[in-house]
């Protein structure tokens, strides 16, 4: 069955979640354009989630985003609707397009809705128990030719597919958040994956205008393989620095160094908050189960026990986690002893900043460099200064850089990634880093 035939019946499981809704949008748009280009074909998108309110929000989201896409693609719509004499204004065309998108969408709470689907995307909660239950149920409901694409970012797929009775029919298709915008898809082929499924997944990624990086089927894959270890390294640095500087200043310093000295889009603790401390811990637990207990973090358990979880609000705002935020920017640091946030606009933070010392001169920012077509010369000069600078900040930056590089090299050594380039690409595309971890800016 070719891809176009498979796309006539598609399902997304966990469609109301953050990742599921983005995947649903990408598919809904693709199916609508296909339907307009080949009016004789019927395309159906089954969107499944346990959460009724979430499904309603999802339909609203699809409506709003379809309108925005139609507005961007107005010239394409003018061509597609060229024979519709009743559609003249841009507004007519965009409204009709939104209708065409929603026309193909069916929502429901049970997996029965996926029964006739030829392709099932799954973006459910990131635990093995949940995924097992879903795939066992799907295996019973779907035909033997159905392919399954999971958005898991950590769970090994060979054992999952075997345990659920779908060996060969499951592939990892890991989008980054938000799926409609982010260009990267990590493609994870379990050992016995059917070649037709692998080829089809590659073709689908091309159609959705995604760049794929092949990962091997080892817990955490490349993206989380680096991110989780990077987060755990940062926690270990905080614990190392805390006796001398205090826990809260230490956390502030490590976060700032990763952002302002290593020139990342956000500090490491801000990134964990963005993902959610709870989600980070779920992934961490999967990796620890498969790769060893050294990956466990008691500190994260402590935060979660205190109800400090981070993550996003339904409106896309940042919830408090390691840090609290004002207008999207870090403004306070959580003190687990005091069970309270300490504002950064205070002497303790100014003292911590003074202890770090200045960033190299001239000051660079991730934001400015991300728009620079060739940031390499500026990065080279920046890190050359950091290499020789005698300050706590420079020292922490050098240590963090080396730890990140070692993590990247480890992913290649352990066979998670096929090459250093693949590791670098995942960090650049998926995490918006300006440079991959396996570089020689600092030695």
């Amino acid at each position: 069955m070719d891809l176009n035939t498979r796309l006539r019946q598609v399902a997304v499981v966990g469609a109301a979640g953050k990742m599921g809704s983005g995947i649903a949008l990408l598919l809904a748009l693709e199916l609508a354009y296909r339907a307009l280009e080949t009016p004789d074909d019927t395309f159906i998108l089954n969107l499944i989630d346990m959460n009724d309110a979430g499904l309603q929000s999802l339909v609203r989201y699809l409506r709003d985003q379809a309108a925005k896409d139609g507005e961007r693609q107005i010239n394409r719509l003018r061509t597609l609707f060229r024979d519709r004499a009743d559609l003249v204004d841009n507004q007519d065309l965009v409204q009709e397009f939104v209708f065409e998108v929603l026309l193909r969408v069916r929502t429901g709470r049970t997996l029965a809705l996926a029964g006739e689907s030829h392709l099932v995307f799954e973006a459910a909660f990131e635990t093995e128990e949940v995924k097992h239950a879903i795939y066992k149920d799907l295996a019973a409901r779907c035909g033997p030719g159905t392919y399954f694409l999971t958005n898991t970012s950590s769970i090994p797929l060979q054992s999952l597919s075997e345990a659920c009775g779908i060996p060969g029919r499951l592939i990892g298709f890991h989008f980054y958040n938000p799926p409609a915008v982010q260009k990267l898809v990590e493609l994870i082929q379990p050992r016995t994956c059917q070649p037709e499924l692998a080829a089809l997944a590659g073709e689908l990624a091309r159609i959705l205008r995604k760049k794929t990086i092949p990962d091997n089927d080892i817990a955490g894959f490349i993206g989380n393989g680096h991110f989780i270890r990077d987060g755990l390294y940062a926690i270990s640095e905080v614990e190392r620095l805390a006796p001398e500087h205090g826990f809260v200043p230490a956390l502030h310093m490590v976060d700032r160094v990763s952002r302002d000295f290593l020139l990342r889009p956000m500090g490491i603790f801000q990134l964990i908050d963005y993902v959610g401390i709870d989600v980070f811990q779920l992934i961490n637990q999967v990796m620890a189960r498969y790769l060893g207990a050294h990956l466990r973090s008691p500190l994260l358990d402590r935060y979660l026990a205190l109800g400090v979880k981070g993550g996003q609000t339904s409106g896309g705002g940042q919830k408090p986690g390691f840090l609290d935020y004002q207008k999207g920017r870090p403004a306070a640091v959580y003190d687990p002893d005091a069970k309270a946030y300490l504002a950064m606009d205070a002497d303790w933070a100014r003292l911590a900043d003074a202890r770090l010392g200045p960033v190299p001169d001239p000051t660079l920012s991730w934001k400015a460099l991300s728009r620079d077509p060739d940031p390499t010369p500026k990065l080279t000069a920046w890190f050359r200064t950091l290499q020789d600078q005698d300050s706590l900040g420079a020292d922490l930056a050098r240590r963090h850089f080396r730890a990140s590089r070692e993590t990247g090299l480890g992913l290649v050594r352990q066979g998670v990634a096929n090459s250093p380039e693949d590791v670098n690409e995942v960090l650049k595309l998926g995490f918006f880093h300006l440079y991959g971890p396996i570089t020689d800016y600092l030695v």
Binding site: E71, I74, N75, R78, R82, A85, V88, D89, N90, Q91, V94
Partner: protein, 411 residues
């Protein structure tokens, strides 16, 4: 009419800020003032310059598409909110696409000439930022021949239509001279706007405007021959001015040096359903401006200040030729040489024009008359230019050169 049958004057002009993208106080997300606000503000600013508003005999308001932008018709009645003295007197809204403001002036002038009114409050208004620019393009496309042109026309309809003109003009004078002249027009417009606190580009701080104007057009996202800097803005604003007879001036208590005289005007419409006879010429603008000059009994070299309808930079270049300041195809060179800059021999759109001040469509014709009145009575503030000549000329154009009103005024 060969000559003006009796003297008619323009007095007490005013306009609001042109609000829209570019102004610091503009935010597409927050609420904005509506039609009422702009009508009140511009109308009252005009009335504040005179004695008793009771002397106003009549009101005329130009507006293009409030019925779609604001779901509001019946603006003749709405304009009485300016002052209770306007109630129970004639008031009407006139429409001629982007020349609606010009038509309002012509209507007011004719009322005074008829002897039925001595003082007419002429206004123009448009509030366009109620929709995204893509849908704004839908509403403005009503200035074209909807049944015949819209379905197969470009998404951004009028930018597309004037892109065709820009393409034809580039083929005539060469792509580089055409693009450079359009970039120069843009630079002039923004430099003028920076001197006019009400202009939409007043806050513009771009250093190299000419380089920005040279940005290659992107046909995939916009049009083949125009970039976004070639376009006038999506704007909210209103303008007001009084049209008065000699008797009207006396009743208003205004002296001759406070007003300008309408020395002549031309008004005409061309067939909306027919394509332009020549893409590289604004034929109707040329004929209407000639009619106005003929009535005034002046040649083009007698005018020292100009307001033209630069809905796009290409319309600016073509207007220079339509006025007769340059031969066909010669407008680009004249503009590139700086002749239409505020320091040149033919200062044009000195308050920013449609590209720099903004283009609240129904208000633009009236705003042009206000800027001429400001310049010729020495009230233009920071954008005042020294004037060696007595006359000013304006050309208000609607649609793709389909309705045109031209005025010659004298200080």
């Amino acid at each position: 009419m060969k000559t003006m049958p009796k003297p008619v004057y323009l007095a007490a002009g005013a306009y609001t800020v042109s609000l829209g993208p570019g102004r610091r106080e503009f935010s597409p997300r927050t609420g904005r003032p509506g039609l009422d606000h702009y009508i009140r503000e511009a109308g009252r600013a005009a009335l504040a310059q005179i004695g008793d508003p009771a002397v106003i005999d009549e009101g005329v308001i130009g507006n293009f598409m409030a019925a779609r932008f604001n779901r509001q018709g019946h603006l003749g009645s709405l304009m009485t909110i300016v002052h209770p003295a306007l109630e129970y007197k004639p008031a009407l809204r006139v429409e001629g696409a982007c020349a609606s403001g010009g038509l309002a002036l012509a209507t007011g002038i004719k009322s005074v000439l008829s002897g039925l009114a001595e003082v007419v409050l002429v206004m123009g208004v448009e509030v366009q930022n109620t929709v995204k620019s893509l849908y704004c393009a839908d509403f403005l496309a009503g200035a074209g021949y909807y049944a015949g042109e819209r379905k197969d026309g470009p998404a951004y309809f009028f930018p597309g239509k004037f892109s065709e003109r820009a393409g034809a003009y580039a083929a005539k004078v060469g792509p580089e001279p055409a693009r450079s002249a359009m970039a120069r027009w843009y630079r002039n417009a923004v430099e003028n706007a920076r001197l006019n606190p009400a202009a939409q580009e007043y806050h513009n701080t771009v250093q190299d405007l000419f380089a920005q104007g040279l940005t290659p057009p992107n046909p995939r996202t916009f049009t083949e021959h125009l970039n976004l800097f070639d376009c006038s803005k999506v704007s909210d604003g209103a303008a007001a001015i009084l049209v008065a007879s000699e008797e009207g001036l006396r009743r208003l208590g205004l002296a001759r040096q406070d007003v300008v005289e309408v020395a002549g005007f031309g008004q005409m419409a061309a067939n909306l359903t027919a394509p332009p006879p020549d893409l590289t010429e604004l034929t109707t603008c040329r004929l209407a401006a000639a009619q106005a000059r003929e009535m005034a009994g002046i040649g083009i070299q007698d005018a020292g200040i100009f307001e033209v309808h630069d809905c796009f930079t290409i319309s600016g270049l073509l207007s220079v030729e339509a006025l007769g300041l340059a031969a066909p195809g010669g407008g680009a060179e004249l503009v590139s040489a700086g002749a239409t800059a505020r320091t040149g021999p033919h200062p044009m759109n000195t308050g920013g024009g449609l590209v720099g001040y903004g283009h609240p469509t129904g208000a633009s014709g009236v705003r042009m008359a206000v800027d001429l009145w400001k310049q010729l009575t020495g009230r233009a503030g920071d954008f005042q230019v020294p004037l060696a000549k007595e006359h000013g000329i304006m050309v208000s154009m609607g649609g793709n050169d389909k309705t045109v009103v031209s005025l010659v005024v004298r200080r």
